[in-house]
Amino acid sequence: MSIVKTITPAPPVEADFASSRYRMIMAARFTVGGFAREWGHCHLLANYLARYVSANEGDPERHATLLSTFINELLEVIFRNHAVEGQIELIFRKRGRHVILQITLPVTEQNRVFYRMAVQIVNQPDLKSWYRARLEDPADGEDTMLGLLELAAVYACSLTISEPPGQDRLSLFLELPEVDDMGEV
């Protein structure tokens, strides 16, 4: 199956975030070196951040379990695709019942190509067919992009990318689906 050329939706810009529609929840920053030392950091970080973001929900535990699923998939992708040095920054914002996660990370050119391609695939018009085709004909090794595809195809997350010119960093914006106070999509 080939990639259909589509227009990737524009990522939110800083000015958008300054508006009252977005509510800042939390920010976290850590070094690539520390994060990438252990695979288990993805799980621990995802659970910790999700619990924090869900603190004021009606059912914080269930809400956090769902958010952890989304955050973990993104962190796992980043664990496998990042430059060797620099800092990773996560910012959580909320708009209505949507949580938006902005993650900024140092990248190599190879990483940059990977993320551009991921965002393009995730924004395919017939993403569900793509996702199902990848399940029906799975790759032999690890399919490191499929986690992101699942977030979009199964849970209706949206993913956009922002690449400040001249920098070895990029930002991914993962907008999570509307989740009610009981942790239901």
């Binding site: 695979w39 993805c42 799980h43 659970n47 009606g58 059912d59 914080p60 535990e61 269930r62 809400h63 379990t65 769902l66 952890s68 699923t69 973990n72 998939e73 796992e76 996702y131 199902r132 399940l135 029906e136 799975p138 690890e142 399919d143 499929l146 986690g147 699942e150 199964v154 849970y155 106070d181 009981m182 942790g183 239901e184 999509v185």
Partner: protein, 390 residues
């Protein structure tokens, strides 16, 4: 990747593999033992292989893909075998994730095992019934509050209230028992929404509520000082599963506290024979829909069999002399409405409901009559989890 794996035969045709905990491997090779157990089970199963994921709280895409590869392996190696993924609505990511696999492969099904959890869930989530539940809670609390200290409740404890319903118990405990932290778990979202609103209105920050399955709690082992389960064991088909979970989450030295009704002991005067007969028939009707409203008598046995020590039992004897008759009558009226709906669900013969109706109506008359007498016995029991199991 702390995942626990269990395999068991569940029938001549069925085998079940259970995965619990967390399944977030780096590469699929880390799932070799899970994959090999699944394949072993698939080779020896004739009908349906159940993959039980009810208590698998986290799973990443690497693990999901490996399960997908296993399903494909079944298609090629064991044609004719059916695979059923058993999941719980409590795990918020599970239904959508596995729905895709069920759509792709015709021999795969998904069972959301707690979809129709207990027989009268819809009946009791009705707005009117919720009001009655609040009245019932008010009546019982007046008698229960003075017994709770004897059952080991004191300020500063970490409490889990399982099957917390509308969450009133958590609020009522605040003034007398000031828990350090209390979590209420229930399987009714309308109840939990109500409970959450209540906590929010009172500005209480030490109370949380969780949508959950009392028979497969996601709470950690040995983590609460006091675990309560009030008037709830009676509505489940297999109450021992719940009691085992209460035991698991209670810390050694902590106490488990139950309240259970004994409907065969409900009585009143005048018309005591009609009342008694009505409640005996009511119990019969309840049993037909899988509920045991006479479980109160078994309270001591239940606490003993799960392995508790220092067991204490007392009776909360509610009568129309020590309770507002109007409130008491409202509660019995609600039972009458519930009985009608249960009779329809159970497709019971009309005489059964007529007997129940006659008995409960006579009970209401006894409650509200100036010189009548009526009672409703509830047993409150508790036991301590030993520090060491022999």
């Amino acid at each position: 990747m702390p995942v626990a794996l269990n395999m068991r035969l569940t029938g001549n045709e069925e085998q079940e593999v259970t995965l619990t905990g967390t399944l977030r491997p780096f590469v699929a090779d880390e799932m070799a033992s899970v994959r090999s157990s699944l394949e072993q089970a698939a080779r020896t199963t004739r009908g349906t292989l159940c993959v039980n994921l009810k208590r698998l709280k986290y799973m990443n895409n690497v693990a999901f893909l490996e399960l997908n590869r296993f399903v494909r392996w079944v298609a090629h190696t064991r044609p004719g075998l059916r695979v059923k993924f058993v999941i719980s609505s409590v795990i918020p990511w599970a239904v959508r994730k596995f729905q895709v696999i069920a759509e792709l492969y015709p021999f795969v099904t998904i069972e959301v095992y707690d979809k129709a959890f207990y027989p009268i869930q819809q009946v009791i989530e009705d707005d009117d019934f919720m009001n009655v539940l609040r009245t019932q809670q008010k009546i019982i609390w007046e008698h229960e509050r003075e017994k709770l200290a004897w059952h080991g409740l004191r300020p500063g404890l970490r409490i889990a209230d399982i099957c917390c319903g509308l969450g009133d118990f958590a609020i009522l405990l605040q003034s007398d028992f000031r828990p350090e932290y209390l979590i209420g778990v229930d399987h009714s979202k309308p109840f939990l929404r109500y409970a959450w609103q209540l906590v929010s209105d009172f500005g209480l920050e030490n109370i949380e509520y969780q949508y959950g399955d009392a028979a497969a709690l996601l709470l950690p082992d040995n983590s609460f000082d006091f675990v309560s389960c009030r008037l709830s064991l009676q509505v489940f088909h297999e109450p021992d599963h719940i009691v085992n979970e209460l035991y698991r989450i209670c810390r050694p030295g902590g106490r488990i506290y139950l309240t259970n009704e004994m409907m065969s002991g409900v009585t009143g005067y005048p018309n005591e024979e009609v009342i008694r007969h009505g409640y005996i028939r009511f119990l019969e009707l309840c049993r037909r829909v899988g509920m045991d409203l006479d479980i109160g008598l078994k309270t001591r046995t239940i606490l003993h069999e799960v392995g508790l020590e220092d067991i204490k039992i007392c009776l909360l004897g509610i009568t129309n002399m020590n309770t507002a008759p109007h409130d008491f009558a409202r509660v019995v009226e609600s039972w009458l409405r519930t009985a009608k709906q249960m009779a329809a669900t159970a497709n019971a013969e009309p005489e059964l409901y007529e007997d129940v109706s006659a008995g409960l109506t006579a009970h209401i008359e006894a409650i509200t009559r100036d010189n009548g007498f009526a009672m409703w016995p509830i047993f409150a029991g508790s036991g301590r989890k030993p520090f060491r199991t022999s």
